[in-house]
Symmetry: C2
Subunit: 190 residues, 2 copies
């Protein structure tokens, strides 16, 4: 059932760093993105794949983690991502990729989750630092980074109270994500 996959596909930020991320899975994720819809069929998105420890260690400091957890600087050694996918847009093809980035990200993450892995879409990226590090030409805009690995944290969804969108972590380390109810999402102005 797809719903089970969607439920399992939480934004994971701590991983079991002893478990390598399979190269074949990274490729399967790009294949899932490739087979997904693209506005005007332009297909302007590109992907850089990384799963070797050295590259991951270099990419890690360019990312910011969990904006609402002010006391938490991000995953410690041993629980850091074991792979990254950097999503780029080829600006020579188009500078408007509509929602291709989200479509592709969702296809990729669901593909990872189906195989027992998972990750987090990170938009808070030191883009110029990352660009220099990986020699990414100006032709490509850095959209976002998927941080990936074998999840090593529990993430639970709960009902949002009084519009407070901030996720939080309890003393046992469980990550709580408040979600709006479906009644709030469905609107009608008739």
């Amino acid at each position: 059932m797809l719903k089970d996959l969607i439920l399992k596909n939480r934004s994971y930020r701590r991983f079991d760093q002893s478990v390598p991320f399979p190269t074949a899975l990274l490729q399967a994720m790009v294949e899932a993105a490739r087979l997904s819809a693209s506005a005007r069929n332009a297909q302007p998105l590109r992907y850089m794949l990384f799963n070797d420890p050295d590259a991951c260690a270099r990419i890690f400091p360019t990312l910011a983690w969990a904006g609402y957890l002010k006391e938490w600087p991000g995953p410690e050694k041993g629980e850091r991502p074991t792979a990254y996918i950097i999503q780029l847009a080829d600006l020579e093809l188009t500078d408007d990729w509509w929602c291709d980035d989200g479509i592709a990200a969702q296809s990729m993450l669901l593909t990872a989750v189906e195989q027992g892995f998972g990750g987090c879409i990170i938009g808070s990226v030191q883009r110029e630092k990352l660009r220099a590090l990986l020699s990414i030409p100006e032709r490509y805009k850095i959209i976002q980074v998927l941080a990936l690995g074998k999840p090593a944290e529990k993430v639970v969804i709960e009902s949002m109270k009084e519009g407070d969108i901030k996720y939080w972590r309890d003393p046992e380390g469980v990550h709580h994500v408040p979600k709006r109810g479906v009644d709030e999402l469905i609107v009608n102005f008739g």
Copy 2:
């Protein structure tokens, strides 16, 4: 397997209009969107659901179909969508929803496909006409429209030739969509 769902999730533009689109499925689609990731957990997206024939008939003329099929004005009577989901952003919450729109659209369409339905994300919308028709307050930006129904066309993926992104329809009515190869999507500048 998720990959089968992703493969079946083509952009369908012709439907069997004799098959009603279940209300419960529209709601399950919003539930799938609700359970998907949202940037900064802001959850600013909202959904209007329509599956009654009168409403569908009024919404239909506000949408443009298949830009590359210049000879085709869109689905005829009998093959038009039997449901729509209008995706809105609540601008009082944020004016930047990152790629939430694509994430949610993909979760919703995969949910429909799993139940034997399908659809097309339409970005070419006469937004002011649609806003007036449905009394959508200015507070909400109309992002895009999902046109939905029981697919009644065959859509095939093929390898892209010489960078030609235009989909096309053959004399038998089969819709052909050229896709870039995975080797073109994976880049490396090392």
